[in-house]
């Protein structure tokens, strides 16, 4: 492919509750970190793609481009999407088309300002009929788990093992977040924590199976291949990116045990990148719940359908959580995932890309995976799998 887009710098804020900060201050912080890293000035930007899932609802902030314009004192084209991956996809297309050479891609969300109403907002946005019927954001994940158990005929001991594997997903992600200074939850949890939280409410999934709501921002600078080489010795290329779409109402989908959109997006992104799942050694997947992570492992083609729960290995003590796939180690959600790093919807994808960028460049510090990878992949959703974005990144495009 000609004119491959490259990421030259990334930045982000800590995720969590930023009670005293305006949304503008968060994106400013993320953008300044990224611009400092590659020595870029705001006037070098030719366009901005900003994402936020529902700032107009949570913060009564419409026409977000305007405040970004005030912030940067720029009058360049700006567009708003709902996720960083969507912004990245659009920015990649623009760079490949030769429209721009330097683009700011960023994301921002401030959910805790509206924590008392946020579950109603989320449900109405992502699955309105389920909302009208009394559904909650958690219920769809639990129903998917019920469907999964049924479809793969799991009974007795195997159900126990699946439940344990799901608990280990949460434990692993919390362990990863211990070494991530930006993570919302930098504390260790145990399998017992996860299980007893489920038991306490008599539900298939409990508090520790779900990602939190968060405030935060993330930013990255995307340039053309030629420019990237001038700005940094070590650009990370976007080798492939694709999206796919599924029905809004979860119950109406044909397959209740998987995310069809992920499968399609992965297929197209892999084809574009000329990679297959076996080439990927670091992945950031969208774990709004532990079930979502396990199912995504299958949808991305890392594990056979119905088997991901058998592949998770490792424990908290030695900080070695990974998936063992036919003897190969696959590291997933090294930043702590949505579960522990946090999930400010419109900014989440930026944190996923941030992590892959650092891991591919060998800059992940204490959480650096043993052998620096050459290829990484990020999966981001909008809604409950209604939109799936898969992006594949590589250290050196000639590999």
């Amino acid at each position: 492919m000609q004119n491959r887009p490259a990421i030259v710098a990334v930045g982000r804020t800590k995720f969590g509750e930023h009670y005293g900060k305006k949304p503008e201050q968060l994106i400013e912080e993320a953008w300044l970190t990224a611009s400092r890293e590659c020595n870029l000035e705001r006037r070098d930007l030719e366009a901005c793609y900003l994402s936020d899932c529902f700032l107009p609802i949570t913060n009564k902030l419409g026409l977000e481009e305007g405040f970004l314009s005030e912030l940067t004192e720029l009058h360049v084209p700006m567009e708003v999407t709902r996720s960083v991956s969507a912004a990245l996809l659009t920015a990649c297309h623009a760079i490949q088309a030769g429209a721009y050479n330097t683009v700011l891609v960023g994301g921002i969300e401030k959910m805790t300002d509206r924590w008392d109403k946020i579950r109603d907002d989320l449900m109405l946005l992502e699955d309105p009929w389920s909302y009208y019927a009394g559904g909650t954001p958690e219920a769809n994940h639990e129903l998917m788990l019920r469907a999964y158990i049924k479809k793969y005929g799991l009974t007795g001991e195997n159900v126990e093992k699946l439940n344990l594997a799901l608990a280990e997903v949460a434990v692993k992600n919390h362990a990863h977040a211990l070494k991530n200074e930006y993570a919302q939850f930098q504390r260790k949890i145990t399998v017992e924590h996860v299980l007893s939280a489920r038991d306490a409410v008599h539900k298939p999934l409990g508090l520790y199976d779900f990602a939190p709501i968060s405030d935060g921002a993330s930013a990255l600078i995307l340039t053309s291949e030629a420019l990237a080489k001038k700005l940094t010795d070590n650009p990370v290329y976007v080798l492939g990116c694709a999206s796919a779409t599924d029905y809004l109402d979860f119950p109406t989908r044909d397959d209740l045990t998987h995310f069809t959109a992920t499968r399609i997006a992965m297929k197209n992104a892999s084809k574009m990148a000329g990679k297959n799942p076996g080439d990927i050694s670091i992945a950031e997947v969208y774990d709004q719940s532990t079930v979502m992570e396990l199912v995504s492992m299958e949808d991305l083609g890392f594990c056979e359908p119905g088997t991901a729960w058998k592949s998770i290995r490792g424990n908290c003590e030695d900080y070695e959580g990974y998936y063992d796939i036919n003897g190969r180690k696959l590291f997933v959600n090294k930043n702590g995932g949505l579960k522990a790093d946090g999930n400010p919807l419109g900014a989440t994808g930026g944190a996923q890309i941030f992590e892959i960028f650092r891991q591919l460049r060998g800059e992940a510090g204490e959480r650096q995976i043993p052998e620096p990878a050459s290829t990484g992949c990020a999966l981001e959703f909008e809604g409950f799998g209604t939109k799936a974005y898969v992006s594949i990144f590589g250290r050196d495009h000639d590999e």
Partner: protein, 502 residues
Amino acid sequence: MSSEPIERRVSYLGDRLKASRCKICGKEYFEVRDYCGNCGRKSFGKMSSIDLFYEKGELELCTLVNEPTNKFMKLGRYVYGIISFHNGKIRVPGRLTDQILNNGDAIDFASFEGREVVPRFRRRYQVGRNDVVPTISLAFTLADEYYPHQEYTVVKPTKEYDLPGVVGYGVYTSRFRIKEGKLERSVPFIDEDAVTAAVEAGKLALIHSGVDSSLVGKVYVGSESNPYAVKPIASKVAQVLKLGEEDEDVQSVDAVDTEFACKAASSMFKDAAALVHYPKSGVEYAMVIGADNAQAAPRGCPGGELDVFVGFGGSAFLFGKHDVIAEIEGWYSCTSDTPDFWRRDGEPFPMHGGRFTGDPAYFKHVRKATTKLMEQLNLQPSDVDYFVTHQPNPQFPVKIAKELGFKEEQYAVSLQVNKFGNTYSGCSPLGLAAVLDVAKPEERILITSYGSGAGSDSYLLRTTSQLIDKRKRQKMTVKFQAENPFVQHVDYTTYRRLKLGM
């Protein structure tokens, strides 16, 4: 939901569970669609509209919700899941209603999954006092519990009668009861109200009569507990039950609410009968519904004396001249301005005149209407097989029946206040339904309603042989509901909470 257009669209699909089926490939959609996604352009004009309102589904998957979203908080904990219809051709989300789950109770999901469920028309969730009351039928009950699934089959009428009369009826009371001493009373679940009871009763009347709902030209709903001061219950009933021909999203039916305390519905029997009898009316069938979540202030407050007797439920009667099960042979009505029971606008609970509600009110009007009708038709008490009257408490109807010369075997069948409480507008019609459930052909039923304010309507009905033929179409008889093993009893605190509703 603060937007009325959105509310209207959600209700339009969700109340009736409207769906579409492609006539080419058979694919089904939970929504009204002009074309099929599979077949594309060639399916234009080839989509048939179906709805799931009278169907049963299967609870395919479920989980427990114990931290609902804000608007569902008053429902507490409930089972929520995915319901499939037509062997999985359509799936919808839904919650199980009519279940009180206690905190700390574990739920065995597998014991619910795979079971048959019936869609129930309920309030959707809680809104502000100034908002449109949202409704939906994505609430379900287990088909093998209190409320059985019944098919609605339109039956072509075989006989036209000279006189108009009852062609079908339905009584709906909830699964919940409060029992104090010998008195049992029906209690709505938290998502029920007069509107949902009216729709349920009407639905059961259609099932019983086998009448094509598009031939119903008028519907009257009598109630004194309409959640709205202004906005008819009858329009909701007409829309959900598809009364009259549907033209786009408008029903060709006249729908109106009536109010006269406990005789708001029974008073309209004669209007419905006269309307279907008048050759130029163009109305083949008319439906009369009495439905109330009978109101009473809590005990210890002014008006709280009523709290001992109030019930919940709806009764629907369909009138026409074809396949009549009980012809109306005559009626008499009387009215006086007697303020024995009232509720001022904006007040949640009614007041009543204590001792004043007896002799100068209830007894005076029931006595007057009954004796006048009997004089008019030259009847002795022994000429009547069953006597039905309004039942504000267990004592009044017995006292007046005895005074009028009726024997226990004539009035005992209709006495239902001990099982359901006073269901206000639905009360004397419920008594009539209990009689029709067991009566034989060619029997005479005398019913006298009473409404505070005050007035009475007395009717003489004579049953026909079709009463027996139609009986097998209705499982939800009065007795079935009174003696149902799935009835659940609640304590006083729960009763007040449920009655207050969402």
